[in-house]
Symmetry: C2
Subunit: 242 residues, 2 copies
DNA sequence: CGGGAGGTTGAAATCACTCAATTAGAGTGG
DNA sequence: CCACTCTAATTGAGTGATTTCAACCTCCCG
């Protein structure tokens, strides 16, 4: 059943480590329910105690936290192949919320199935742990950007990260990606107001670094964009580059 | 040899999950070399490819990243019991640097010994993984603070986090802790200038929330401090509270 | 041809930064 | 025990980045 469905997960895991045929087969055999989800719907909310884990098969999602005054901080953008709520396997209560940013497809896998997979395949366990550690590296890089980089560099860096991550799973060609992000989303990720994001995007366009329509981002000058964002992809620890 | 030394690690692991006597014994049996380290010395640097892992036995350390222009972003404060460079087990090249903030004691454990421990004790593996996930939750909370909270709340939140984490390992009594942080360190962690940190600390003192000497922090009004920082300790997922 | 979400613009206000000088403290050597 | 020194804390003034508020525009979709 999961057969073709779980492919994005396999592809993602293989973007930073290799799997044996046996392990690939075990992943494919893992049971799960396909769940479609509309744009801008919560997938899991802070405080929930999930009994299953959600794999993003298609679409786009984000992790976020809401502050008392109503401000929002997005703490991660999830791409196809990501396990959205892996922490729920080891930490019963969710401390963050998840929201779809585009019409998406999820694969819902029961905790038991996931834990059985880990039990039987230690290398898969290590790959998932490795993924957790790479996410932590991405978090650190976001902290650097939010804390110490001015808006221009910060936005450039985010775009570089997303393009490289999309490329690693085959969803970007030629530094060009579908990005269903509003300027408010970008601002909430980088700690900026949407007005300031708007002006910063104009600067990036003016500098000839990017072209951007409603839902498509293209890096016209990839090296220039990397420079502007002080971007060095080594922290993403990709096995291969696109 | 590691016998008495590894205790802080055991205590830390038990602060968010329980260990059997067998598992505790296995941890105690793990070989390692004790290494003292001066204040303000790098323990590991970005780009290194360590063959061993460092446990902080005593003292205080931080993870940081240096930007081209010389700015620094601290991305984590490590307390006794923390494994400082666990990622090096699964990710060969370090993407961050580590620095001691006080005279400290390390326990250096070879990668093989660590991996053997994981191989033989799956529950220890899961506890360490759980620790990694809790760190990720702390990272998210830092992003929220850096990105969306004004300085006053941001500093208050950081102090709350450190006091609770110190309490969990028995190093804080009565909301009072030894904190060998300069105002520049605090600023580099929160994305603020040291001048602004100075003024913010004066406000916190003026509001009757804290008392602070060079290396000692005391929350005079714990609830007030939590309010000011919008602090809710659930994201730290502590097993027990001190 | 509305309606609504998201993008764009301008002006005023604010938070935080930089620069530069001064003070306080802790440790050291004589 | 006192000068000396270095690091860290403090202060003031001027600047700059980013926010807020509020209005207006534009595009997409039904």
């Amino acid at each position: 059943m999961g057969s073709a469905l779980i492919d994005p997960l396999t592809r993602k895991l293989e973007s930073f480590g290799s799997l044996s045929t046996v392990e690939q087969a075990a992943l494919r055999r893992t049971e799960g329910t396909r769940v479609p989800i509309e744009r801008h719907h919560d997938i899991v909310s802070a405080g929930d105690q999930p009994r299953s884990v959600n794999v993003l098969l298609e679409g786009f999602a984000c992790t976020y936290t809401l502050l008392p005054e109503g401000k929002r901080q997005i703490t991660f953008f999830h791409l196809p192949g990501d396990v959205l709520d892996l922490p729920s396997l080891f930490i019963p209560v969710m401390d963050y919320s998840l929201c779809s940013l585009a019409h998406s497809q999820l694969l819902r896998i029961p905790h038991e199935a996931m834990l059985a997979l880990f039990h039987e395949h230690p290398r898969i366990t290590h790959l998932f742990w490795r993924e957790t550690l790479i996410y932590a590296a991405i978090f650190r890089e976001w902290m650097v950007g939010i804390g110490r980089r001015p808006a221009f560099a910060s936005v450039a860096h985010l775009f570089c990260e997303l393009i490289v991550r999309m490329q690693a799973i085959g969803l970007a060609v030629d530094h060009q990606v579908d990005l269903p992000l509003t300027q408010a989303d970008i601002g909430d990720a980088l700690g900026l107001s949407s007005v300031h994001v708007n002006r910063t995007l104009q600067e990036l366009r003016g500098a000839g670094l990017i072209k951007m329509t409603r839902s498509r981002l293209r890096a016209i000058d990839w090296h220039g964009l990397c420079d502007a964002g002080e971007f060095d992809d080594s922290y993403l620890h990709q096995q291969q580059m696109g």
